[in-house]
Symmetry: C2
Subunit: 274 residues, 2 copies
């Protein structure tokens, strides 16, 4: 596991099993409550996730919302509201710009909180709803793995442009997918997370990965922040939206990335935390 | 208005009116969705809200949850789940301790996110439910103002001890209150917020403020983080929980703090942001 996953496991142990109105807790893309509420939170930190010399406050807000809305999409949930907590450094005067960037997704920004902070902190929470949330854990050996679009675009572009979450695709795939995850840290990492949660292995065929313009195979496999969806579908399922088959779930716990002739390659996803 | 309130107004303009499934947006203690979901977010920043040399990670987590659960209490909502987004500085190894402190409130911690950060950041979101959320804006001239407990305790103690949110009291008062707010920034500031939202003035009688042990009148009026509730009740209402009458809402927009003989005093609440 990556350092972030180890920490998440320690926190999950500290807080114990889901209880009360929580039906799905730590360890998936989003939490699920017993009334169908699906909720996700993400934190972006200046100097870690973005550099204000290279991006605008509005783009930072857009991106923070994308990260959360993508988590909802990976559960097959439709978004209802966003909340924002900002830490504002001395001299930073465009909190309204960050909020305006969040608002561009068309989802209401319903509330938030402000504090001073040494660097710009943008912590966003997205609330949505789903009648049938799709977990990471429902995949079965033999399921095909599909992605919703080209990969490696953010890595190739230096993590600068805007990305839209796959909300429509996620809601459509929820009707047929056995498991789903969004590609925030690269398919090498995120496919392993889906397989581990499902108790399966996985094979990803690198040659099949749809590549964004300018992206190398390595960037397509390990670049973060593409926010495409990776779904497991029972073999033979017709996908309700355009997807590309990139591999399959297997028996056993190994996750391998193989080249065109089936030789395993060592590749590792992007760890925000390392 | 305090600097934080001015910024909040700018953000509210940037994001526009509540729409879709949001029935109450920016400007109250928490947001309200059309299915009765009530949600609040707060961000605590090391060096601004706490100092790790004087408090434990567990206490920081407890306090971050208190701030959010208090916001829910001020709406009369019962809590269902907490989410946590942590920014972790180099060398900090007790994220699980922060989460364990949150968990002590008995509310499930359902999910979260982690990042590196220059200082410890604890951004918590609380989700709850209410059939009849109480806004800040429903107060009417002539309503009496009541508080749920002693004030100034955190100011007197140097903002060190633990505070419990008034969840039971908030849910009970929701049946009778016309308006409610939690005292996070001191009654001088928060009473003015309630009165402004209600389109009224207010008079607070300083001699009536219940004081925590060791707290001065000034600390009771302006100290932050007590997390007692301030509710407006129609005159003559019998409160369902023990409260202390501290003043009343008035016609017109002025909010005055008066001494024992009715002379206005200049006092100002605590602004996390200034």
């Amino acid at each position: 596991m990556l350092p972030e996953d180890v920490l998440v496991s320690a926190i999950a142990r500290a807080v114990g099993e889901p209880s009360g109105g929580v039906v799905l807790g730590i360890g998936d893309d989003a939490a699920v409550l017993d009334d169908g509420t699906v909720v996700s939170t993400d934190i972006l930190v200046e100097g870690v996730h973005f550099d204000l010399g290279r991006t605008t406050p509005r783009d930072v807000g857009h991106r923070a919302a994308t990260a959360n809305l993508s988590d909802l999409a990976a559960m097959g949930a439709r978004p209802v509201a966003l909340l924002a907590a900002f830490g504002l450094p001395p001299g930073f005067d465009d909190a309204a710009g960050v909020a305006a960037g969040m608002r561009e997704h068309g989802v209401p920004v319903a509330g938030g909180d402000l504090s001073r902070a040494p660097v710009l902190i943008v912590s966003v929470t997205a609330l949505g709803r789903s009648d049938r949330p799709v977990r990471r854990s429902g995949g079965r050996p033999g399921d095909v793995l599909v992605v919703t679009g080209p990969l490696g675009g953010q890595a190739a572009a230096g993590y600068a442009g805007r990305v839209m979450p796959r909300t429509v695709e996620g809601c459509a795939l929820a009707a047929v997918a056995t498991a789903m995850i969004d590609l925030s840290d690269g398919i090498a990492t995120d496919a392993a997370r889906l397989a581990r949660a499902s108790g399966t292995g996985a094979v990803i065929e690198l040659e099949r990965l749809p590549r964004a313009p300018g992206a190398t195979v390595e960037q397509a496999a390990t670049g973060g922040e593409d926010y495409e969806l990776l779904a497991a579908l029972p073999s033979g399922t017709e996908a309700p939206v355009p997807v590309t088959i990139v591999g399959r779930l297997t028996e056993g716990g190994d996750v391998t990335m193989v080249d065109a002739v089936g030789v395993p390659q060592q590749l590792r996803g992007w760890d925000h935390f390392a």
